[in-house]
Amino acid sequence: MMPLRVLLGALGVAVGLYGAWLLLDRQETAQVVEVAVWFLVGVLVHDAVVAPLALLAGAALPRLLPVAARGPAVVGLVVVTTVTVVAIPVLGRFGALPDNLTLLDRPYVAGWAVLVGLIAAAAAAVAVRNVRQARSAAGGPQA
């Protein structure tokens, strides 16, 4: 397995360096600097904002919900938060153009609200079922 790993690693380094060369070769320095800024900001936004928020949510969950409801809540939150990240460009309609009515032409906030409502309703239904089962037979199954 070791020769394969070394080969794979070397190939990866070569491919990555080719990408770096493509980046540096085809654009002005100011453009490359802006790419570098975005490159770093992306990681910082995740590591210093998104991940700590997920930590806070994880810490708050046990204080807010009974044990039997936590499972469905987590499943619902994973789906809602990640899909919401995908939806940021259309929810903000940042790219909308006044002369193009075929672009960003849906009621995104309403659509997103319906989607979140459906997921929340499904999670709530499972949570209620879990809580009832836990009450009737102590130590019922989690989601």
Partner: protein, 388 residues
């Protein structure tokens, strides 16, 4: 007095869910998605080469619709996958620095490769997602050049990551997802869900993200794709990317003095739209498939492109340069490789779905060719020149 950031220690993360057993499984799917994005991205760049050394095929006509739809859809699928993957491995960010020069060097190199991988993955998904919604929040860099370059960086870093982690990946797939052999010593506290349910949540989130956006390119899912960038509506049932007003062609396109110029060497033929309508009219059902991932199929009518080339005795196998009425823009002038120019399905379209071409669709005349990125299906065509 020195201020210290209250950084957590790796050992402070106690959830059993943050395990290599979960990371390997989500990572495998994420890796496949990245590979699909990379290959379809390369295909898209190949399709946009003005004079490709290996000709881009004209068949199947729906090929680019599928590869580019897949590119954007798979990229969207990566968002939930990447977020969960990063969540499972987040404690590693705070792992203690090892002692000893050799181990320190190896750890530093590995961490650097992880940094490049995470940064390039986030960069690709963020810029791709923004571009698909025609949102350009950056000032100066070219999306196309940068997204292409960073794709190679991401795939390179991914290969290094797989090479480093191969033993862990094999061990993870060789054992049950609940196996604790690969866990950090502190990861002993059960989570609010099982590992299986964390994985299921990830697959559900990925599926929901895909279904909520893919109506852009899969017409029968338009009803439920509440987050797709386009509803699919537009003149003749086809959306628009650049309007005539934005391209600054309204006056020239509507002008009575409009002439299409066909040029081959010192031969030139001038045609009005009426002249074009008087030629043999053909009809082709061809998709418009945009780099932003949306696509729509339409029945176009107009003059077979090869019939126009015959008017100036252009030989078969000749490359063609097409110029638009638009006064500026990167796609004002495009190259049509010979295999597209000679394909019987390639039209200079004058109408769509039985009506005349809408001004925003390229009136008085536009190019429509099979298996070609929408950005190269030149609108408001004013000049067709044989170049070789």
């Amino acid at each position: 007095m020195t201020a210290r950031l209250p950084l957590p220690r790796e050992a402070a993360f106690t959830s059993r869910l943050r395990s290599a057993a979960v990371a390997a499984r989500v990572g495998a799917v994420l890796g496949v998605c990245f590979a699909v994005c990379f290959v379809t991205g390369i295909i898209s760049h190949w399709a946009q080469l003005p004079r490709p050394a290996v000709p881009f095929p004209t068949s199947p006509a729906w090929g680019y619709r599928v590869t580019q739809g897949l590119h954007v859809t798979t990229g969207i699928a990566c968002v939930p996958l990447l977020l969960v993957k990063l969540w499972t491995v987040y404690p590693r960010l705070f792992a203690p620095v090892p002692k000893g020069a050799r181990r320190l060097l190896l750890t530093t190199l590995e961490r650097a490769s992880i940094g490049v991988l995470v940064a390039s993955a986030i960069f690709q998904l963020a810029t791709g997602l923004a571009n698909a919604a025609r949102w350009y929040p950056w000032e100066s860099f070219s999306f196309r050049t940068t997204h292409f370059a960073i794709a190679w960086v991401a795939i390179g870093a991914l290969l290094v990551h797989i090479a480093v982690k191969l033993p862990v990946i094999r061990a993870a797939f060789g054992a049950d997802v609940d196996d604790t052999a690969l866990d950090r010593p502190s990861a002993t506290v059960p989570g609010p869900v099982s590992r299986r349910w964390l994985l299921r949540s990830t697959w559900i989130a990925t599926g929901v993200a895909v279904v909520a956006t893919v109506g852009n390119t899969v017409p029968w899912l338009r009803g439920v794709s509440v987050l797709s960038v386009r509803s699919g509506d537009g003149p003749g049932g086809i959306p628009i990317n650049t309007s005539a007003a934005r391209a600054d062609v309204v006056a020239t396109a509507m002008s009575a003095s409009y002439r299409l110029v066909l040029v081959n060497g010192d031969r030139a033929v001038y045609l009005t739209r009426e002249d074009l309508l008087a030629m043999t009219q053909r009809s082709e059902k061809l998709p418009i498939a945009c780099v932003e991932g949306w696509s729509a199929s339409g029945t176009w009518s107009g003059v077979r492109f090869r019939d126009l080339l015959d008017l100036v005795d252009a030989p078969r196998g000749a490359h063609v340069r097409i110029t638009s009425l638009q006064p500026k823009g990167a796609y004002r002038r495009t190259d049509l490789p010979s295999n597209f120019a000679d394909d019987d399905r390639t039209l200079l379209a004058l109408g769509l779905e039985g009506g005349p071409l809408d001004l925003d669709h390229g009136y008085p005349a536009r190019l429509i060719a099979p298996n070609r990125p929408g950005v190269l299906q030149t609108k408001w065509v004013s000049r067709i020149e044989v170049v070789a």
